[in-house]
Amino acid sequence: MRRHWENCVTHFDDGVDQFIDDFFSESSRCCVLVAGAGFDPRAQRIARKLSATMGDRVHGLFIREDRGDPAVALQKLADENEAQLRSVIADTTVAHVQIFSADDRAPIGGHGVRSAVDGYKWPDDITDVVLDMSALSTGVGFPLAKLLLEFAEARPKVSLHLMVVSNPELDDRIVGEPSAQVQFVRGYSGPSGSYDELPVARIWLPQLGKGRVETLRRIRSTLDSVYKVCPVVPFPARNPRRADELLAEYQAQLLNEWEVDARDLIYVSERNPLDCYRTISTLKKRYDRTVEDVFFPQIILSPFGSKVIAVGAMMAAIEHDLSVQYVETLRYEYDPVNPTGTPPLPDMAVHVWLHGPVYGSYDAGTQKVAS
């Protein structure tokens, strides 16, 4: 049990840069940055910062997600990003991961991730792994996180850091065309083999994201034995109306199709993934107790929209062996020029220290009330 996950060391925004300056400037640190090298404009920030601080002590393993039929403009952006990343970090490996199989177009990104990690030659003196989720899709980033956590937990002196550069307003402008197939994210199919004894009762936690109505409807249509639907919406958020706007977009689904009880909405911070993690963890604990001996409890997550919230959901899925169901994206559309003409809001950054020697004595006293 990773008790420290409730209270992980985190840094935000400028604090992430300060942390990198402070921690990674130690000459004993040797870091592998694992990140996306796609079209996403946030792909370079963490790489540049680590490189500026560490020089040749940082190595890069960048994942290029190949979807087969990308928009030409986005292909060009991704090529530029990749070239920039190669120039920023001298020791760079770029692994091309096919998201769909050439034969039947089935999503296979998770397999490619395993190959990329297994095939990578890790430095002998590695002390830190940084997983930058900013430009990775769910189908790639989630399996990567699980593999890298296994890697770090098997090496007591290695720390695993999650970093995300997020921008909810920019996320809203990236449009994905969903594939036809609903599936579990690789490594996130939940517990298996226990359904025989008791009937299953599912709670579905769709994370509402702008422009994802059809995708979430498709996922819902594949689920049976749903006890409750608890949609996840962002609050606190830098746009305090963001949750309301999402509720309006999903109005028909919430009221008519999914029969959501208004009290079952889950509000979680769009800035700090630990809020989502803690909330889902509490739900899991209580739900298990509720249906114990009557039903087999299953919580299914479907993270779309805010990447920060998705990272919190991912942590909960790893810690409690929850299922993550999603629909892979066939292709993206994104126009770097903001059509509204309003000045862009700054990116937000978060660092979550997932694992490492810094938690050696976490259980010694932090949760006790000294009374």
Partner: protein
């Protein structure tokens, strides 16, 4: 509720076309959802007359031609903080605000980095001690101390939480006794760190302000005086250290208030002869964006309504208070904040008065009807 009748009521008030039910049906579905999720939970609504009924009453005060702009404002600009959302802000306070600060404090004490606090037992123990030596003080009903206690059961003791500022000598001694008897504490232990907690600040004036005649007022002045006087009267048993750190936390703050608080605190620290703490910080759970206040040209239609349907009585009722904030009218709300915000337990007077003001319409003025009733600090509904 009879949906058909409620829909007819709103369609009639709004003038939605009878021959095209699509508009009325769509809007009514949205209203029903938002009422259920948020608005019906407003604390001053009563059985039988909740949001939909209040909305109908509110809209009727406007000329038919003006109602679309008023409705549009509710649909697109209103920010309503529900109980669930407020709970979220309360629950994140200790892990996201207090814990990182205590880690920095412990790191400073032990000469380590803040992220190394849990690396070995000495740091973990010091963190636990530091947390116990932190006092949480509620500044109003909105501090939600009940929620704070529940959210942190097992993490903070009830003996380090003071729900309101009215602390008497007996309570100070009690806090001191409990702290000194707690595990790992010494017989002279004191609180090193004090968090003053409040729900909302839009202008910062309720918390700290200086009158035109140079007199300091507000909740912080009160707290500072309370500490100064209690130190003298309680003596050795006073539980707060001489150089305690003061942390001011609002669950919600506007950008304007944050900046004002920082400026006024700096001046107060220099001017107050009996400034009781060593250092201070200002934090918030939700910082409202500086684009939230209504402004022209994008909010021109609603601001025009604010001018047209304004009754100056709301200014004269609180004239002294308003003039202290440099105002000569209340069209944009207290301190001209022009906010579109409602909290589930009350509506701030910094929000645009069209949302909360209720007047009789004397002297030829139009009577103002609130969408959300507001209770003022003296307990009167406005």
């Amino acid at each position: 509720m009879n949906d058909r009748m409620a829909l007819s009521l709103l369609a009639e008030v709004m003038g939605w076309p009878e021959d095209d039910q699509a508009v009325a049906t769509r809007e009514y579905a949205w209203l029903r959802m938002m009422s259920a999720v948020k608005y019906d939970g407003y604390s001053y609504f009563r059985a039988g007359v909740r949001f939909l009924e209040s909305l109908a009453t509110w809209l009727k005060q406007f000329d038919p031609a003006d109602r679309a702009a008023a409705y549009d404002f509710v649909k697109k600009r209103l920010v309503y903080i529900s109980l669930s959302e407020m709970q979220c802000l309360v629950e994140t306070f200790v892990p996201e605000v207090v814990t990182p600060h205590l880690r920095r404090t412990v790191a400073h004490q032990l000469g380590i980095k803040p992220y190394e606090v849990w690396t070995d037992k000495s740091g973990a123990d010091a963190f636990t001690r530091c947390l116990r030596k932190t006092l949480f003080v509620g500044m109003s009903d909105g501090s939600r101390i009940d929620m704070l206690r529940r959210a942190n059961a097992g993490r903070i003791s009830t003996e380090q939480v003071v729900p309101m500022m009215n602390v008497d000598k007996e309570k100070w001694l009690d806090l001191s006794k409990n702290l000194r008897q707690a595990h790992g504490m010494t017989p002279t232990e004191q609180f090193d760190c004090v968090y003053l907690i409040d729900d909302f600040t839009a202008s910062g004036t309720t918390f700290i302000r200086k009158n035109a005649d140079g007199e300091w007022k507000g909740k912080l002045k009160k707290f500072n005086d309370l500490i100064r006087d209690a130190r003298d009267s309680v003596g050795d048993g006073f539980p707060i250290a001489e150089n305690y750190e003061l942390h001011i936390h609002h669950y919600i703050s506007s950008a304007q208030a944050r900046s004002a608080l920082m400026k006024r605190l700096e001046i107060a620290k220099a001017e107050w002869s009996e400034w009781t703490c060593s250092d201070y910080t200002v934090t918030e759970g939700l910082l409202l964006p500086d684009t939230l206040p209504l402004a022209r040209p994008s909010d021109g239609a609603m601001l025009d309504l604010g001018d047209k349907y304004y009754d100056h009585e709301i200014f004269t009722r609180a004239e002294k208070h308003c003039r202290e904030a440099g105002q000569s009218d209340m069209k944009l709300g207290y301190a001209d904040c022009a906010l579109p915000i409602i909290l589930e337990h009350n509506t701030p007077n910094n929000s645009v008065p069209l949302l909360w003001a209720e007047t009789a319409g004397n002297g030829g003025a139009r009577a103002m009807r609130p969408l959300f009733y507001r209770r003022d600090r003296h307990g009167s509904l406005q």
